[in-house]
């Protein structure tokens, strides 16, 4: 695939989007001077087309589409190594969170539907059951992603070890959890939160 040439101009630089990332992440991309320490320590950089330092550089240039089109943000494992090591206190882990949130909100297509699906199911489980049942999560993920055979051989072994719990104890705070989800939706609808 031929790479699109990057044109830096007032028309192609979307500063508003970058300000949103900065507000959500509570960190300034302008602090970064491209030392590359984040990418050097990143365990996932090898899977990304834009390693962490380049993600920040693209933000500095207002070229967010290039980031959201790719898979980098969905391969970040949130290990916090970049944030820990940044000499300029750029909180890259939170920048990745902000970018995923904005991508999730529909700001651009993403190549990483599997990670998004897993996140979506995880949040649905909290809203429905209050707690997470990992093996149930894994089973539903397999069905929804069409990978019926993934980790199939692990099932019986986990069952024998008592690690497969598919049943849910009733949580007395369920209505409270639902209210939190609903209030956040309402705040966003009114524009009170990003």
């Amino acid at each position: 695939m031929k790479k699109k040439k990057m044109v830096i101009s007032q028309e192609t630089m979307d500063v508003d989007f970058v300000r949103k990332v900065e507000a959500l992440s509570g960190t300034s991309v302008r602090r970064c001077f491209q030392c590359g320490k984040c990418s050097a320590g990143c365990p996932m950089a090898t899977f990304m087309e834009h390693p962490p330092n380049r993600v920040v550089r693209l933000l500095q240039l207002g070229q967010w589409q290039r980031i959201l089109e790719g898979r980098s943000i969905w391969y970040c494992a949130s290990c916090e190594t970049c944030t820990t090591r940044c000499p300029n206190k750029v909180d890259l882990t939170s920048i990745m969170d902000a970018l995923r949130k904005l991508s999730w909100d529909g700001h651009g297509p993403s190549k990483e539907s599997y990670v998004q699906l897993a996140n979506k199911l995880f949040l649905q489980n909290i809203r429905t059951y209050g707690r997470q049942y990992e093996m149930r999560l894994a089973a539903v993920f397999n069905v929804k992603s069409g990978q019926f055979l993934k980790d199939l051989m692990l099932g019986p072994k986990l069952l024998a070890k008592g690690k497969l719990k598919m049943f849910h104890s009733k949580n007395k705070n369920m209505s409270e959890i639902e209210k939190i989800f609903a209030r956040i939706e309402e705040m966003r609808a009114k524009g009170e939160a990003l």
Partner: protein
């Protein structure tokens, strides 16, 4: 210390400890009971949101944690947390809400209650090493883990980022080594104790986990470790449950049992295999423990 000579904590086990990491929950309760540390489970706690929530919705993540902190505040004592991810999220929430008034106001609206940040959140390691103290822990030992070479695996969230968990140094922590050495074990120096295992990609991208976790197992083996010790159910899942699969993919053999810290410390203070959930481990630890005369 309360006058009754019993240490009191509220306890947030987290979802994994009630599902795939039942042995971590069991060994924690048994060990703490023996050490006269009272754990009272936070009633009807719910999921902290873990990585998926903050990954796509920080406000939701902060709100879930703030509500859990409020529930924990109703139980006496500092909050004891077993899972590294829950620990990280709860501490991050306290850190972010303490510094960012805008987010704090949003969270207070979402949970419809004022946010209280004065409760202390502590990982089990912290309680053993700092609150109880290594001397008193050592005094409780009945069966020193002599001759057992342990690779202490921190993973990501126990120590990172700077200024948030404040458990130990971010780049050269020693708290796990200090705890396990105080009960008689040896520790090995190895390269991958702070590297990421791929964590929750185990569901969406297992190939990534297999690659990262293999490097960790390889490093522990090369350093001469008999076993690995962890303080996080996700690290445990990847290192223990996936170990056989990894051996197959890389055509090698590690055979490294992966213990929770409470299981190993529990062994040293004389708890039996049934009280530590050793039979729930996928890599069977019995041959190693028998060889070392620990069972």
């Amino acid at each position: 210390m309360t006058p009754k000579n019993i240490m009191e904590y509220s306890y947030y086990p987290g979802c994994s400890l009630h599902a795939s990491a039942g042995e971590y929950d069991l060994s924690t309760r048994e060990l703490f009971k023996l050490l006269k540390i009272r754990l009272t489970e936070v009633p009807d706690w719910f999921c902290c949101g873990a990585t998926p929530a903050h990954n796509v919705d920080e406000l939701l993540s902060l709100s879930l944690c703030a509500k859990n902190l409020e529930l924990a505040g109703k139980v006496e004592g500092d909050l004891a947390v077993a899972c590294a991810a829950c620990f990280s999220r709860l501490k991050t929430t306290q850190h972010v809400l303490g510094e960012n008034d805008v987010k704090r106001a949003q969270v207070e609206k979402a949970i419809d209650a004022p946010v209280t940040l004065d409760g202390k959140v502590k990982h089990l390691l912290e309680i053993l090493a700092k609150d109880l103290g290594l001397d008193r822990l050592a005094a409780a030992v009945k069966k020193p883990l002599s001759g057992l070479k342990v690779a202490c695996y921190y993973g990501c969230l126990l120590t990172r980022p700077t200024d948030v968990p404040n458990l130990d140094c971010t780049e050269a922590p020693t708290i796990m080594e200090r705890v396990i050495e105080s009960v008689g074990a040896e520790t090995v120096a190895w390269t991958h104790r702070l590297e990421c295992c791929g964590a929750n990609f185990t569901i969406s991208r297992p190939g990534v986990v297999i690659q990262l976790t293999n490097a960790i197992l390889e490093s522990a083996k090369a350093a001469g470790a008999d076993c690995i010790m962890v303080g996080c159910p996700l690290c445990h899942g990847n290192l223990d449950i996936r170990q056989k699969e990894i051996e197959g993919v890389y055509n090698t053999s590690y055979g490294l049992p992966v213990f929770y810290l409470t299981q190993l410390v529990g062994l040293s203070v004389g708890l039996g295999a049934d009280k530590l959930g050793l039979d729930a481990m996928m890599v069977n630890p019995m041959p190693l423990l028998k060889e070392k005369g620990l069972l």
